[in-house]
């Protein structure tokens, strides 16, 4: 009876993984193209205001980030990757102005939480103006138009 006959041992064929690297490389190239180098990310609690039709911030060497975040009525200031008191901002700005080879003016991207009062933003703006920063980018989230 065929039913009770001993079955032939079958071998599972080895999975051919020769094209796996190609697959991964494709993914790698995809990520290399759609992403850009992480410059600095906010470490302070931050909710950027929303806007429409905003311009892209170009990635350039002389660009520094200042974030002003807010939590429970207290504001936090961040220069590139360090959280520091507002008073030290000018010192750090001067340091980076000295260290950077002056091939272009220093530009600042300013990410401010929507709830922060303008007097604090104004203080930062005054620091920037005193140190001859001529261009500032007010960061915001792009929101979709309602219509």
């Amino acid at each position: 009876m065929g039913m009770f006959m001993r079955r032939k041992r079958r071998q599972i064929p080895g999975l051919n993984t020769a094209s796996l690297p190609d697959l991964i490389f494709t993914m790698l190239f995809f990520f290399m193209i759609v992403t850009n180098m992480r410059e600095s990310s906010p470490h302070v609690p931050l909710e950027l205001p929303a806007g429409q039709g905003l311009e892209k911030v170009g990635e350039m060497s002389g660009l520094h980030y200042i974030y002003i975040g807010m939590e429970q009525g207290k504001t936090y200031v961040q220069w590139d990757d360090d959280v520091l008191p507002l008073g030290q901002l000018e010192h750090r700005l001067r340091l980076s102005q000295q260290s950077v080879e002056t091939d272009g003016p220093l530009e600042i991207a300013l990410g401010v939480d929507g709830r922060v009062e303008m007097q604090q933003v104004e203080e930062v703006k005054q620091v920037l103006r005193r140190n001859r920063v001529s261009v500032v980018y007010y960061l915001g989230e792009e929101s979709r138009p309602e219509h």
């Binding site: 929507g114 001859r132 915001g140």
Partner: protein, 198 residues
């Protein structure tokens, strides 16, 4: 010496670990890069008035449009309170001055490359005054509306002149259109005389 040579087989290179290598690279790029492109409003800051003596800018009454934000987030144009939704139309009407009205900015003939002689309201100033207690969100919204107003005017002009949107135009064309609608915005905090201009 002349005997038939034994055919040798070149051993295959084991490529199993190439995938791991590629994975390593992939993970590195995932960590070191960020996906989102940062979006912003670009503004130029004037030099500090402490270090440079600046002649006060003389602006004719008809060339000036003043918006004032108070501490509660209300917006005033002159002395009347207006909703934020009105800002864009007001600004567009003010800058373009389509009917050449006496009360709106004066038009000047300017030579613009590619476009020839153009009537431009290039002395207009939009002044944004804000209270120290205005929150940044409201300020940003108004700035965004000003930006949109300029963008829409520039888009309309690009459509008329070059039959494409402002973004699609070449850099010379964009430059020409920018010259038709130059951004002139002054920012001041109401407590003290401080400002910003583009």
């Amino acid at each position: 010496m002349f005997g038939k040579r034994i055919k040798r087989r070149v051993p295959e290179i084991n490529a199993t670990s190439t995938a791991d290598m590629a994975f390593m690279l992939l993970v590195f790029f995932l960590l070191a890069t960020s996906m989102g492109v940062k979006k912003s409003i670009r503004r130029e800051l004037p030099p500090s008035t402490d270090s440079v003596r600046v002649e006060p800018l003389r602006v004719k009454e008809r060339d000036l449009l003043v918006f004032r934000l108070d501490g509660e987030g209300r917006l005033f144009a002159g002395s009347e309170e207006i909703p934020l939704t009105d800002v864009k139309e007001r600004v567009k009407h003010f800058i373009a001055n389509p009917d050449n009205e006496e009360s709106l900015p004066e038009k000047h003939s300017r030579e613009v490359p590619l476009l020839g002689t153009v009537e431009v309201t290039d002395t207009h100033v939009i002044a944004l005054r804000y209270d120290p207690h205005t929150d940044y969100r409201t300020y940003f919204e108004v700035q965004n509306l000003l930006l949109e107003a300029y963008c829409e005017l520039r888009d309309a002009e690009a459509e008329k002149r070059f039959h494409c949107t402002f973004d699609r135009a070449s850099s010379e064309q964009q430059e020409a259109i920018r010259a038709c609608y130059p951004q002139r915005i002054s920012e001041t905090m109401t407590a003290e005389e401080k400002g910003g201009r583009d």
